[in-house]
Symmetry: C2
Subunit: 492 residues, 2 copies
């Protein structure tokens, strides 16, 4: 280490090649690690010194500790047996993009702070717009996560109300009615969280009931809007979901969009996970109706093989977005403003990593056909797994499987007598059985599934989204599930 300055470049090069070699080996064999980390709480913490080093430490010791202390505490999202939450992949081209972004270390807050960061973002997001089949007029911006994208979208929706909330705020205003936001009871928690931040409050959030396939019931949506208007409240935004977190159900966006148009409500679509499926020609219809949305979020870090974080917010009403967020005084506006875009005006964050680079590299390295084939392949694998569940007498699916995630549970014959109770959502024995089954399956180290609750039932979820996952891995998950279920049944 130089006395003043960064590490010597030759030392950087040597350490970076060590890192690349480690990553290459890791990418070649992620399944040598247990997918779900086995460390006990505080084990990582206790392996580290309680205080920072006073002197510089050799980079090789730091890399040794990375391998020795950090890696065992990693849950391996790269493992082909990772089926939890939404399974993701930071593909090779995406990792290269991240490496260059880290090295360039630009802050893309203004056009001039790196014109390529802004313009590559515009171009890449227009490419993605075309792939998703969204019409011209949808302008995009990259945020870190869908939570923030949706927060910004709903902020724009509130701004579009013309209630002067930007200037006058919401407190101390007897003139302001309760503002109402509508989403389904299957919506992601980030929508409610956005409402909390924005001062809408839980009281202003209507979680519209869903149909048996977990899709927003539009009749109930209309009824809720009417009731709120009758009460003197002010409906302002509907958030539809394309690919809910629990079951990947797809809200009926065309019907919801018609309601929004009639009622003059902002329509935001949370397509964070499932939006990417629209680039598969056979699944383009997942975004049906979304051309009428005011805003839409899709996360390339979820199902477009881009390393976390990369969430894209599209809007047809960029003026409402910048109107809500921009704080550039008039005297700083320049003649160039018509020609260029300053993305700092498009959301909460002033500082902005150069995230477009990784997405651009992924889109080029795979091409539309490559992306499409892989997403279609994941859907195909999920269908296969769903078929196995359906064929098995002691398992059942608990939701349709429109995309790459299967919701199911074990229903051992020995516990079947409780079917009536189960239908009422009260089958504690079956819930406990599945809870223990999941624990044992995840303890295998070969697969990692997560759970949800559907109509009161403890539900297992198998989510496919990793580029390394093949039929062999899905079959192995099924083998472990059925074997452990049989073993657990024999212990009943």
């Amino acid at each position: 280490m130089n006395h003043l300055g960064d590490m010597p470049v030759e030392e950087f090069r040597r350490a970076a090649i060590r890192a690349v070699d480690w990553i290459t080996e890791y990418f070649a064999h992620p399944e040598t690690y247990p997918v779900l980390s086995r460390v006990e709480p505080k084990a990582v913490k206790e392996a580290l010194p309680a205080s920072p080093p006073s002197s510089a430490e050799p980079i090789d010791e730091i890399l040794d500790d990375f391998e020795r202390i950090v890696v065992p505490g990693i849950t391996h999202w790269n493992h082909p047996g990772f089926f939890a939450y939404f399974s993701i992949t930071g593909s090779g081209p995406g990792v290269l993009g991240e490496l260059f972004s880290a090295a360039l270390n630009v802050n893309g807050m203004l056009w001039q702070t790196s014109p390529a960061a802004t313009e590559l973002e515009e171009v890449t997001l227009d490419w993605l717009r075309q792939l998703l089949g969204l019409p011209v007029g949808f302008e995009g911006v990259i945020m870190d996560t869908a939570s923030v994208s949706s927060l910004c979208a709903i902020t724009a929706a509130r701004h579009a109300l013309d209630l002067d909330i930007r200037a006058r705020g919401m407190a101390g205003r007897p003139d302001l009615p309760l503002l109402c936001l509508y989403t389904s009871d299957q919506a992601h928690s980030s929508i409610e969280k956005a409402a909390l931040v924005l001062g809408i409050g839980q009281r202003g959030v209507r979680k519209i009931a869903t149909d048996p396939a977990f899709r927003m019931d539009v009749t109930r949506l209309e009824a809720a809007i009417s009731a709120d208007r009758a009460a003197g409240y002010r409906p302002f935004c509907v958030v539809a979901t394309v690919g809910t977190t629990s079951t990947t159900s797809i809200d009926p966006v065309p019907a919801i969009a018609a309601v929004c148009q009639r009622e003059a409500l902002w329509l935001h679509v949370d397509a964070a996970y499932a939006g990417s499926a629209a680039l598969v020609p056979e699944y383009r219809q997942v975004l049906d109706g979304c051309a009428m949305a005011d805003s839409l979020v899709v996360n390339p870090h979820k199902w477009l093989f881009t390393p976390i974080d990369c969430s894209v917010l599209y809007t047809r009403r960029p003026d409402d977005l910048t109107g809500a967020f921009s704080l550039v005084p008039e005297y700083l506006r320049s003649g160039m403003d018509g020609e260029i875009r300053n993305y700092m005006d498009w959301g909460v964050s002033l500082g902005r990593r150069f995230r477009a680079l990784k997405l651009w590299m992924v889109m080029r390295a795979f091409g539309q056909e490559g992306l499409s084939k892989r997403i279609a392949g994941h859907i195909q694998l999920a269908r296969q797994f769903a078929a196995w569940v359906d064929e098995h007498p002691e398992f059942e699916r608990l939701a349709p499987t429109p995309l790459s995630t299967v919701c199911f549970r074990a229903v051992p014959a020995a516990l079947r007598s409780d079917t009536a109770a189960s239908a009422a959502g009260g089958d504690k024995a079956i819930d406990d059985f599945n809870r223990e089954l999941l624990r044992r399956v995840n303890a295998s180290g070969e697969v990692f599934l997560s759970h949800t609750t559907l109509r009161g039932r403890h539900t297992l979820r198998l989510a496919i989204g990793n580029l390394r996952t093949t039929e062999r891995h899905v079959a192995r998950a099924w083998e472990i599930l059925t074997t452990e279920s049989a073993r657990l049944t024999s212990e009943l």
Copy 2:
């Protein structure tokens, strides 16, 4: 490219080594590029195809295009002549951390989704807390930017009001008085932006006037609070700044903290830039009084050599932060919750990159002494530059230089007759001179400075924060400034 799956690992390795070699060369000679990109608006856009590729493209072609199209559109934040905004460095160890984070691609939303991500964050932020001299009890969380950290802090402040805003919101509540937030007229725009998002509105933001050294005037703060209380409003939060964006002035936090304690207001400290200086023993006092703050933000991506993005929010009141944001239903809480931390409950974003890794690598690779020497070195360079300005008859400083940023302007003798007008902030000729001077200096390609407005005067800023910047580069900046100023004067 495999038909299904990621790029073959050997191809990844080869491309990654090409990337490392490019970066090594770049890090060795960043000054071979003009610091401020010279591309015209839309040049990058027009060099790229209007539509995405349908088929996969070879990775080497993508890397060729990166060098050919992207790099010329980069403004080089790594250039030793980058003196704009706040100059930053993504150091070598930090880039390695980013590379590993991208490859591991974990989402650290829950402890179990990678225990090491959560626990390394806890340990690293406790190390940083110790380095900054903050007392035990300050708990940290990493966000992307200070904009988001401050938004979350002020959300917690609003939550701490016990006005039930989480549940009942802010609209349609005649019981709710105007909520007032206090900050200085030198505060960063992110504070006002947070107020917009939170529904405080511009009407609820009090920009307290500053003293001649651009520090918040505490007497005026107290008067504003009294006036608001008398009007029936509800003061709730003061945001003090340690290192303002324009001049790096440091608000009198001890006195502000005393006011906050007496008035029962949440004190948030924006130390995004200058907080890091507290790890230099001689500058520890920059955080004087901050032990009494309720929350404080410091950005390792600003002056702690960590690649963008990495912003740390500390709070002594984590329960108010999680109380504002957590949406985990009671039935999902587990016996393990006492032992572990789920960072998704600590802010807006559910998804979380593994950002602690790069910070950990930086802190170890430099050690406290290494970090301290480099920051002290930057401050020393700024003092040197300030002394040159002070000694020059045709330049003047426009603010004190407490840290590593110098605010100054040229005052050519030929325009001096207007001194009285200038004092009134009306010296358009001097402003125009400095505007043109900045344009010419930045066109050199050797240095990049930015500007601000102080008391109505167009002010040049030279900010030092890059690890590659040495006295030679600062001297060269001064040479270019004085040469161009003389040339411009001769044209008057």
